[in-house]
């Protein structure tokens, strides 16, 4: 690991408040919008329980306080209860981000006993039936059972629905269903375009008109619901010409640890070329957070090129998303092309216009191991263990 960061002017960060533990990339679902890396099937062995406990302790020492347990599907880890119990003992607020598949009453009770603070239940799972899923009785019954179980254990009832062109016109029924299930919070999260979602972008990107209608439906429901169900509508980046801060600022508040131990400043940073990210097997969380080349590379504003470097919004949006800059402009140090001031903004505009008259030349690629192996580059696996 490099001792001298390339970005010499990187400001010293505060604590990594949010630790996202991606426990596994194994998953029973095949979502077309998944942001797990395309080459996940080539990643190295999963971290063991002891590794995760060590990461939890080290990150907590630095001040991490929110712990997300995610993946893939975190319920596939047999040691989940052990990890949850340690996180709770250390003082984290723990969030299980799950499809609910495998959350039996027994498992729910065990996780509650271990001290899990909250379960975020995702809707919108298997996209092979995406157009029919709202009327797909079996799916609805599974979610009803899991939702009842969540309430029975006394957890806040939080739901997350990934929104894209294939379901955005159903927002009314999605909200109605969440209300019927007794949700207290519903996040309508328009998908971001990385990894599998980027691959399938032409089929997933909604039109501006669809977005506007969905927001109007959401506002209408907000007025109707009063306080009993809180709705969050997260708009996609592509439509309004404004960049958002990446992960609240690269290396400022969040650390992601992937199933094989790579530490990243965001879920998808591994795709960026010319940048090495450390592994928790080899380095302490403290060294990773404060001194690693990867975490310092795009901290602050000193690394920026024009138009960001002299822009009066640079402290507000911090140049936007590095991964989007790489995916669209082929340069991770460029301005995020979703920003109307980026020289590559035209590519984003074109993508939004294409959503109006989509051409189906490529079928949707569903996330699974076979596709991942097929899509993986010829480069060597990230970690050979």
């Amino acid at each position: 690991m490099s001792a001298t960061p390339i970005n010499a002017s990187a400001p010293r960060p505060g604590p990594p408040l949010w630790l996202l533990a991606e426990l596994t990339y194994r998953c029973p679902l095949h979502c077309a919008f998944c942001y797990n890396p395309l080459d996940f099937a080539q990643h190295g062995d999963e971290l063991g329980t002891d590794d995760w406990l060590r990461v939890l302790r080290q990150a907590r020492e630095l001040g991490a306080v929110q712990c997300g347990l995610s993946g893939g599907e975190p319920l596939l880890r047999d040691d989940l209860e052990v990890i949850v119990a340690e996180a709770r003992r250390l003082g984290y607020y723990t969030n299980l981000l799950t499809s609910g598949v495998g959350l039996t009453p027994q498992r729910a009770a065990a996780l509650k006993a271990a001290g899990l603070d909250h379960v975020q239940l995702s809707f919108q799972d298997s996209t092979r039936e995406v157009n029919d899923f709202l009327s797909h009785t079996r799916t609805f019954e599974l979610k009803q059972r899991v939702a009842r179980e969540i309430k029975a254990q006394g957890w806040p009832m939080v739901m997350n629905v990934v929104i894209h062109r294939l379901n955005i016109d159903h927002v009314d029924r999605i909200i109605a269903m969440a209300d019927e299930l007794g949700a207290e919070y519903l996040e309508l999260a328009n998908t971001q375009y990385y990894s599998w979602a980027y691959l399938n972008r032409d089929q997933l990107l909604p039109t501006r008109e669809q977005l506007r209608r969905a927001e109007a439906v959401t506002d209408h429901w907000r007025r109707k619901l009063g306080g009993r169900l809180r709705l969050f509508f997260v708009a996609p980046d592509y439509h309004d010409g404004v960049a958002k801060k990446c992960a609240n600022g690269w290396g400022s508040t969040m650390m992601v640890v992937t199933p094989d131990g790579s530490a990243l400043p965001c879920h998808t940073a591994r795709m960026l070329p010319g940048l090495a990210f450390p592994n928790v097997r080899d380095a302490s969380v403290r060294d990773i957070w404060f001194d690693s080349e990867g975490f310092n590379r795009y901290r602050g504003t000193g690394w920026m090129q024009e138009p960001c470097a002299s822009c009066d919004q640079r402290e507000v949006d911090l140049g936007g998303c590095r991964c989007q800059a790489y995916l669209i402009a082929n340069d991770p140090a460029a301005a995020d092309p979703v920003c109307r001031l980026s020289p590559h903004h035209g590519d984003v505009v074109t993508a939004v216009e294409r959503a109006l008259a989509p051409v189906r030349e490529q079928p949707i690629v569903f996330r699974d191991r076979a596709a991942s192996l097929r899509l993986s580059t010829a480069a060597e696996p990230t970690i050979a263990r």
């Binding site: 604590p15 001040g63 929110q66 607020y93 603070d117 207290e184 009993r228």
Partner: protein, 94 residues
Amino acid sequence: MSEPAALDGGVRPRIGNGFRLQWEPAQSCHVLLYPEGMVKLNQSAGEILKRCDGERSLDEIVRDLETAFNAQGLAKDVHAFAEIAAKQRWLQWD
């Protein structure tokens, strides 16, 4: 979730379901933790919330604060804070 009962000095507020209040040494302040989120609390908010154990009434909390900080006439501010906190679901009471 139903709206809280009207606020008067006799209510016994407690931290809302799904929220947790704790002192964070790394941030030198109290925080309220909730699903994927955190509210940093200033000193007075922290002092009020840490007394909301579901057993003490709001009147008792006001008196306790006045004693602890050698102050008077805190009722109005504490009530105003409790109302805001209830709207945010940080506090609940029967």
